[in-house]
Each structure stands twice: as C-alpha cells, then as structure tokens.
C-alpha cells in the first residue's frame, strides 16, 4: 500500500509504542493514588507534561491533556464562551474543521452571538472582515493554523496581534492540529491564548491531545469530576497516552527541518508529475502560504468518489478531504468557501504526505493517478 492520507492520520513514529507500553502494563497505577505504582505513573505523567510544554515553549501548568483535537477545540471554544455571563461570542472562519464549526454552531443555538468569516480564493482568511467581526460581545476568536484539506497556512502571529490590539480581552485560539509536523510552534510568537494539538497527526497515539491554555486564561471545563488537570479536565489520566504523545512530539520537533525539506520535496515532485500528466488538473492548494505535506487538486470530469475507489483498488490511499461518518464523500465546505462550485469540489482529491513517505512511492503513485485518470476519461 502507498499511503497518501497522512492528514487523516499517520503511523506512530519509532519508539512511541515502546515508550507507552510500561504504562499499559507494570506501571498501571492511577496517577492520583498515594502508593508506589501510582506515584510512578504520576511521575511519568508530569515528566511527559514538561516535555510536551518544552516542544511548544510553554509552561507545564499551561498543558491540559485531552483525548485529541476535537476535545481540545471544544474545550477551547466552549470553555472560553461558557466561562462568561456576558461577552460569550465566537468569531471563526468558514474553512475551519467541523470540531470548531459545529462547536460554534452549538454555542449559537444556546444564544451566543457567533460570526463566520470568509476566505479568499487563496484560502487566506479575510483579515479586515475578521477584525470587523470582533466586538465587545466576542469571547474568543478561533483560526486554524494549517488547513487540513488544502494545507493553507494562516498568519496566526499577525491575526492574533491585530485582534489583541483592537480588543485586549478577546481570547485567541489556534487549531494547530495539522501544523505540528512541519511548523515551529512557539506559543508566545504565535500570540495565542489557546492552542489545540492532537497526537495522531504527527506520529503519536490516537486518542491523545493537548490544549495549551495560557496562564491566567479563564476557562470553563467540559468534563467535571475529580479535578484532574487543575480542574480543567477531569478524568483518570491516560498515562501511556501522555507518555507516547510526549515522545512523538519530541521526535517530530527533532525531525521538523528534515520533514519540511524532504517531505516537501516529495510532495512537490508528486505535484509536478500529476500536473504534467494531467494538463487540465487544477491545484486547489495555493502556491503561497502552503504546508509542506498537503496537496489538494481538482481533476475536471472525474468524480473524486470514483477516483478514490480506483486508487484504493490499486493500493493507494488518498482522500476527498471531507468524509461523513458513513464513509461517503461530501462536498467540501473548505473548497466551497474558497469559491469552488459543489461540482468542482466533487472533482477534488487530497493527497497528503507524512514522516515516512518516500520519493519512490510518491512517483509510483503519481504515475498510477495519471493512468487511472486517462482510463476514467
């Protein structure tokens, strides 16, 4: 199999599983306990927290372990909105992940003022519209750092600074779920109050994630209970998960410059090949402000559902970027927001590359894509 769906999830990096195993086995203790096996678990958890904090230039107390990106997004946005009596509004962008859009819509249904800001053909948020949308009712602004379907990178430092200049009390959340493999994450430089990360997008275990919460940021918890995570997220800790996550984050940071150049080169070569082989192919991923590892293309006249199925039969895993629970591909709201028609969106496919992608398999996959498209036309 040639796996070109790393934006959906990517295999665990070497050593992660081994690092986790003791905490699913001998060191099984509940990290809140008063005995040895629990203390050892607690130590491992707090050490993991420190290591995680280091990778994003945060303090350990600013790290909340979660079950992944969806929970982190929910906690950031609901937590910021529900914490206040007034000023509960949310401002976000049309191309966000469903975890942000649906959370925002939930808050709208229970009475919070919410606003959705559009993007240009290049996928970049309409910054003046974003700033205009923020007002005295806004609790939090949420912008995705690196788009999961197209790989568009938003200028988070500039956006967060401008929002703060206008409304000092407004919190800024960045969904950085897709960004960690390739982008340097320094929470101070990004200027964010809240930042969501999930483990399985860069070689960590599924079901693990982090919400960075800048010190002093008021946040209503979603899960009430035993008061773990300084009351911000109750529930017995997944120590093995936290350890695996920390291990993978360190590995990803160490590997980042190689990832950017090498995986970026593999993606670029793949892109060139499919562009040459399919002359009318349109690249939805813009030329500027793009990630190293995403490529979203439209192949006129070929329905993505069909191409993906044929690719699967040929042993190549790719995606339409947006799938519903049933597995049927849906019209991408991201591409629609960028100005594509529903028909054009249905002809769009995402290829995404990861830490273990190789040049040879990308070349082979590109050749298969080109010949399948010829056959389908």
């Amino acid at each position: 199999m040639i796996y070109l769906d790393h934006a959906a999830t990517t295999p665990m990096r070497p050593g992660v599983w081994d690092a986790m195993r003791p905490f699913a086995d001998d060191v099984f203790g509940n990290s809140s306990g008063v005995h040895d096996v629990s203390r050892r678990a607690k130590n491992a958890l707090e050490e993991a927290r420190e290591r995680v904090a280091d990778t994003i230039a945060a303090r350990p107390s600013e790290i909340v372990f979660t079950s992944g990106g969806t929970e982190s997004d929910n906690l950031a946005i609901k937590g910021a909105s529900l914490n206040r009596r007034s000023r509960r509004g949310v401002v976000t962008v049309a191309t966000e992940h469903e975890a942000v859009l649906e959370t925002t819509d939930f808050l709208r249904r229970i009475g919070a003022p919410t606003r959705l800001v559009g993007v240009g053909r290049d996928g970049l948020v309409d910054a003046p519209a974003l700033f205009d949308a923020v007002d005295g009712d806004t609790a939090v602004v949420s912008v995705m750092y690196l788009n999961n379907e197209t790989g568009v990178i938003q200028d988070i430092p500039a956006l967060s600074a401008a929002v703060r200049d206008r409304h000092g009390e407004v919190l800024f959340h960045a969904d950085a779920v897709q960004a960690f493999s390739s982008e340097e994450i320094d929470v101070a430089r990004l200027g964010v109050d809240l930042l969501s990360i999930t483990g399985h997008k860069f070689g960590g275990p599924k079901g693990t994630g982090v919400l960075y919460v800048r010190e002093g940021t008021p946040l209503e918890p979603l899960l009430h209970g035993g008061g773990q995570e300084l009351g911000r997220r109750s529930g017995t800790h997944d120590v093995a998960g936290a350890v695996g996550l920390a291990h993978a984050m360190e590995a990803a940071v160490t590997d980042r410059s190689r990832f950017r150049s090498q995986v970026g080169q593999i993606r670029d070569d793949f892109e060139k090949r499919v562009m040459v082989g399919i002359p009318d192919l349109q690249v939805n991923t813009p030329e500027l402000n793009r990630s190293a590892h995403h490529l979203n293309v439209r192949i006129p006249g070929v329905r993505n559902e069909t191409l993906l199925m044929r690719l699967d039969r040929a042993g190549i895993a790719a995606s339409a970027g947006s799938t519903c629970q049933s597995g049927a591909s849906e019209v991408s709201h991201v591409l629609e927001a960028m100005g594509l028609s529903p028909g054009e969106a249905r002809e769009s496919v995402r290829f995404s590359f990861g830490w273990n992608s190789t040049a040879d398999e990308a070349i082979e996959a590109a050749n298969v894509v080109v010949s399948l498209v010829e056959e389908l036309r």
Partner: protein, 349 residues
C-alpha cells in the same frame, strides 16, 4: 468476472455478495447514500438507515471484499423525492422505490460500472435473469411470495445483459439459511417496508413538511359533480382510498378520480372504482421487441396479475379492475417471464 454488488444492508444483498465471492469473482460492495434529513441525519427507517450501511460494511469486511459508500443524495433528491412530491401534487400515485431502482440503482450504477472497473451489477432482488438463445429473459423469482420482478420490469435487454441476480433461484428461507450458515450478521434481519425518506409516519406528513405548497384546498364531489365537501389538498388522496375522506355518507365511498386541474377529489361507490383499461407511458419491453395482444398485467407490487390485452399504449383489462391509479407501475408477463413495464398515464371506464 468483476462485479459490483449493491449492498443495502439486508440479508438478500448480503447473500448475493457472499455467493459471488464464493464463486470466485472479483467483488466490490457498494452502499448508496440516498437520503439525509434537513440536518444531514441519516434515515432511521426504510432500506437505507445508518445501521443498514453499517451492516453492509460489516458483511463486506467478513467477506473480505472492498466496500464503499457512494453519495447519490443529489440524484435521489432530483430523481425520486422531487418526483414523488410532484406526482402527489398532480393527483398521481407514485412508487418511489421503483423510481429509485430505475433511476438511481440501475441507471446510475450500470452507467458507472466501467468507472469502477466492473463488468456486472449484482443485486439481491428476488428475480431471475437467464440467457436463452442470446436473449435475456427476466423471470419471476423462485420464491413467488417474495418475487420482485415487478420492480425490475422496466429494464432493457442492454441493462439485463449486465445484471446478475444470484438470489432469484432461492427462496427467502434458503437465503436466510445460507446467511446463517455463513454466519452473516444480517441472517435474521427483518425486512424493511417503509419508504426511507418518509419513515414510519404517513406519507402525507412528509409531504406537508417537505412541500406544503402542493396542498391546495379544493372540492370533494360525487361522480355526478355535486359538491360533498372540501379538502385541503389532492396530495392527501389516492385512488381507491376509503378512509379519511372528510365527508360522512350513508354508504362506503371511495376516491375514484382525482382531477388535478380543478383540484377536485371525486368519490364514488365501489363499482364506480372499476376501470376498463389504462393508457400507459414510458413503455419498455424487457424482451427487446414490442408485444401486442394478450398479456398478464400486474399493477401492484404484491398484486396478482390479471388478464389483459395491449395494443400500443392502450391496455384493456379482460375484467374491469379496481383502484388502478395514474403513476403506478404496470408490469406485463407471459407466465413467469417479464415482457416489459410501463407507468399508468391515465385510466378509462
């Protein structure tokens, strides 16, 4: 051979897929996503619920065949649901399941076979498709009580040549036994009877919600034209309907005619329900050539065929028939063999 199996999540299509796999064919399973509610939720009744797709997926996994969900919601909305609304709005009695089979399942999937690198379409319908002397013959299923040849009666020779119906030779009991022997999770699954987008409520409830504009008040009259009452829309009535007419009369009355032009529902006695014949439209001869003369005509999915003669688009019943409604499908048979199918355009007494 390379086959695409339309898997609804029911026992029949599960066994169809299993039999093709057992025979060593290259099998792909697909489920069609056809309908979702206003908030994108999947239906909970009918043939295409979330749990049905899940059952199909699990059966495909058990058979170790690739499986995909295809999104045909647009085709279904345009070709089936909109038409259902239009038909009721114009006083006709549509059969959306037949329309779905024809315009979505067969038309679209057969048209897409090459795209999916498949040669044949396999379904779990209870009907037989046999090649006799170079011609395709669509026959009633072995299990007469479960026969579904009626819903396939508008398939052409060209379509039949690319359709495989593996469970047509089996009784429903056989199908369940095979499924149980193979340990398929759908072995004991009950059959769905509801229209997927209508659900367990009355179809009128769906229409009122989805298309309130088709409800235009009008007159209820007798066959003599005398007004007996008012109604709030012809879409709420079908030919032969006896209950919920909104008028109280001394003896049983039935809807015998619906005049969309004047928005009038005409009531009559039972003997006024009977028609001598019908003019048909969209006539398709499955046998590949037009047929003229004596045929057996079946105008309800589970009705008995009745003797009739057809000449062109004019169908004349040997004995007058009750409750033949415009919009219904009529299938023509010679004994067990399907000759063709059509829609009832209008009826005459």
């Amino acid at each position: 051979m390379k086959v695409l199996v339309a898997m609804s999540g029911g026992v029949d299509s599960s066994v169809a897929a299993a039999l093709m796999r057992e025979e060593g064919h290259d099998v792909i399973g697909v489920t069609l996503k056809l309908w979702s509610g206003p908030n994108g939720e999947a239906p909970t009744a009918g043939c295409c619920t979330v749990s049905d797709a899940e059952d199909a997926r699990r059966v495909a996994a058990q058979l170790d065949i690739p499986y995909y969900v295809l999104d045909y919601t647009e085709e279904f909305r345009d070709g089936v649901v909109d038409r259902f609304v239009r038909d009721y709005g114009s006083g006709r009695t549509p059969n959306p399941c037949i329309e779905c089979n024809r315009t979505v399942k067969f038309d679209r999937l057969l048209g897409s076979l090459a795209e999916f690198d498949s040669e044949f379409l396999v379904t779990g319908h209870h009907a037989r498709n046999a090649n006799v002397g170079g011609k395709w013959r669509l026959l009633r299923g072995q299990d007469r009580a479960k026969d579904q040849s009626y819903v396939l009666s508008m398939l052409t020779q060209g379509e039949l040549s690319r359709v495989v119906l593996p469970v047509g030779e089996l009784t429903k009991a056989d199908v369940r036994t095979i499924a149980a022997d193979m340990g398929l999770r759908t072995a004991a699954k009950p059959e769905s009877m509801d229209i997927c987008f209508v659900g367990q409520r009355d179809y009128r409830g769906f229409l009122r919600e989805a298309a309130p504009e088709v409800f235009e008040p009008g007159r209820v009259t007798g066959t003599d034209g005398v007004e007996l009452g008012r109604h709030d829309g012809i879409a709420g009535f079908t030919i032969g309907q006896r209950r919920g007419l909104g008028v109280a009369l001394g003896e049983p009355r039935f809807v015998v005619r619906i005049d969309a032009g004047s928005s009038t529902v005409v009531l009559g006695r039972r003997d006024e329900l009977a028609v001598a014949g019908a003019r048909v439209s969209q006539l398709t001869w499955s046998v590949g050539h037009p047929v003229s003369g004596r045929v057996m005509a079946q105008y309800r999915a589970h009705g008995e065929p009745v003797e009739a003669t057809i000449h062109g688009d004019r169908l004349l019943f040997t004995d007058r028939q009750e409750a033949v409604a415009p919009g219904q499908t009529v299938a023509f048979y010679d004994d067990d063999m399907v000759l063709g199918g059509a829609l009832v355009a209008d009826t005459f007494v």
